[in-house]
Amino acid sequence: MALNFFDQFMSPTYLGIPLIALALSLPWVLFPTPSSRWLNNRLLTLQGWFINRFTQQMLLPLNLGGHKWAVLLTSMMIFLVTLKMLGLLPYTFTPTTQLSLNMGFAVPLWLATVVIGLRNQPTVALGHLLPEGTPVVLIPFLIIVETFSLLIRPLALGVRLTANLTAGHLLIQLIATAAFVLLPMMPTVAILTATVLFLLTLLEVAVAMIQAYVFVLLLTLYLQENT
């Protein structure tokens, strides 16, 4: 049977039951529920500190109207980071390599920011489609370009996440396979390849966290434009 490097991205099923539902609910069981005690343990304290710090950072560019999104944005960030980190473990499935999942996150959230902008401040929302000071000759062209860039945002959000993770996982598998195959033939080259693999894994851990942050940050910026 020929090795297919894309098999790792197939949504797993068992007896017809899609296991992606299990993969998506796994982050929920990994995080402890905050207790009602006055002094929590170290893990809860660390979790609470991280959530507070991240929420504070996320809400910096937003006015009061955008603060309603705090729970959604923070939980989205923690969910995405956890899914990606779990996906970097060997033999695990990463749900965020599925374009359908990422588009399912990106499209409704982007659309919500656009609808909020059109509902609460339609003049400003429409006025944003024409940069200030545009020469008269370029006005229609720039409006079309800005409209297109607005409509392409959810696609960019979803595809950015999918492509980064898919490419990273594919690279890891390719280099790991190369190291494994080279081990009996050229051990020195195999050790160098393994070193590259180690560095790449560190890079993928960073990319996983950064991509989740970028996703949430861009949503924050889109929200800032529309509130």
Partner: protein, 57 residues
């Protein structure tokens, strides 16, 4: 992002008062006019009756 232009330093008259690239209402009106033009063109070409081909007898 830069603050919205209140338009106080621009004294537009006539057509430019409503359609310009400096005030927020001017920009909004330009956007709406562009969308209306595109919609009109699309509707025109969609609803235009197609010429029947004349066959030689």
């Amino acid at each position: 992002m830069g603050g919205h232009d209140a338009g106080s330093q621009h004294q537009f008259t006539g057509f430019a008062k409503y359609f310009n690239a400096y005030t927020i209402t001017g920009r909004r009106n330009c956007v709406l006019a562009t969308y209306a033009t595109i919609a009109t063109l699309v509707l025109y070409f969609k609803l235009k009756p197609k010429k029947k081909a004349v066959t030689a007898s």
